[in-house]
């Protein structure tokens, strides 16, 4: 018999690979967009 309160009582183990991926993607987006703006600004100058 399933005990309702047992559901979700555990903690997700591991997962730092996902965490690092999220932070790296954040930097890739921000640095990439900043470089894109810098590049376009130079073209317009």
């Amino acid at each position: 018999m399933m005990v309702p309160f047992a559901q979700g009582m555990g903690m997700i183990q591991g997962g730092m690979g996902y965490v690092y991926a999220a932070y790296v993607i954040t930097w890739v987006f921000f640095i990439g967009y900043a470089v894109s703006l810098w590049s376009r600004s130079r073209e317009e100058a």
């Binding site: 591991g14 997962g15 996902y18 965490v19 954040t26 967009y33 900043a34 703006l37 600004s41």
Partner: protein
């Protein structure tokens, strides 16, 4: 709707220090999120993704809201600077909205077991993002500056309707996505996690202001280049 040339000639770009400050905040905030903040009670280390996922959601919504306000401003005043702000905010919002969806997918896989689900919050976010992609595409195909500004302002206002729908989606429909954590009534996030999330949020906000201002200047330069030269005076 001529563009004053003084804008591009401003000697001091006030947004640059904000951008540098934002980068420093992001660097330190990410360190705090990765190594200093405790893991979430149920999600463990995966909860650290919240420190970038939630700020990405907030700044994307902020950029789209600014685009909507600028579109309304353009339709009311006809000022070209509002049109430049629509272009700037829509592009920055699409960049941050795309980041938001990617971070959400990375968060969903270890917590929900899937990269994506057609849940009301995720679906409404995707619709909101795609509608602003449509605004950018529309701006790319219309060559006449006046028509482009008017049509994209209307399209932006229509897209902005998605903001409250996306925000309220977790209340209005049964959603796999968690309910709002930060409301006027208080927070459901423990203070040991909350301050790190807000620290990173400020980093995202400063960077967003930097992006918006820099992209706005670029749009202004292009708008100025589109203004036809004055006709020569007719000799009498």
């Amino acid at each position: 709707m001529a563009v004053p040339a003084v804008r591009r000639a401003l000697p001091f770009r006030w947004e640059t220090p904000l951008g540098v400050y934002g980068l420093l905040l992001l660097l330190s905030g990410n360190y705090l999120g990765l190594f200093d903040s405790p893991g979430e009670r149920m999600m463990g280390d995966v909860g650290r993704i919240l420190h970038v996922h939630v700020p990405a959601a907030w700044v994307a919504m902020l950029a789209f809201l600014i685009a909507g306000i600028a579109a309304f401003g353009f339709l009311m005043s006809g000022k070209r600077s509002f049109d430049s702000l629509v272009e700037s905010a829509a592009e920055v919002g699409v960049m941050e909205g795309t980041l938001l969806c990617l971070l959400g997918a990375i968060f969903a896989k270890p917590t929900w077991g899937v990269w994506w689900d057609w849940d009301p919050r995720l679906t409404s976010t995707a619709v909101m993002l795609l509608s602003f992609v449509g605004v950018l595409l529309l701006r790319g195909v219309v060559r006449d500056p006046d028509r482009r500004a008017t049509w994209s302002a209307v399209a932006t206002l229509l897209s902005t309707v998605n903001l409250p729908i996306t925000y309220m989606s977790v209340k209005w429909w049964r959603s796999l996505h968690q309910d709002m954590s930060e409301t006027a009534g208080g927070s459901t996030i423990d203070s040991s996690l909350r301050w790190v999330m807000y620290y990173n949020t400020w980093a995202f906000v400063f960077l967003t202001v930097w992006f918006l201002a820099t992209r706005w200047r670029l749009a202004e330069v292009r708008a100025e280049a589109e203004v036809p030269d004055a006709l020569p005076e007719v000799a009498t």
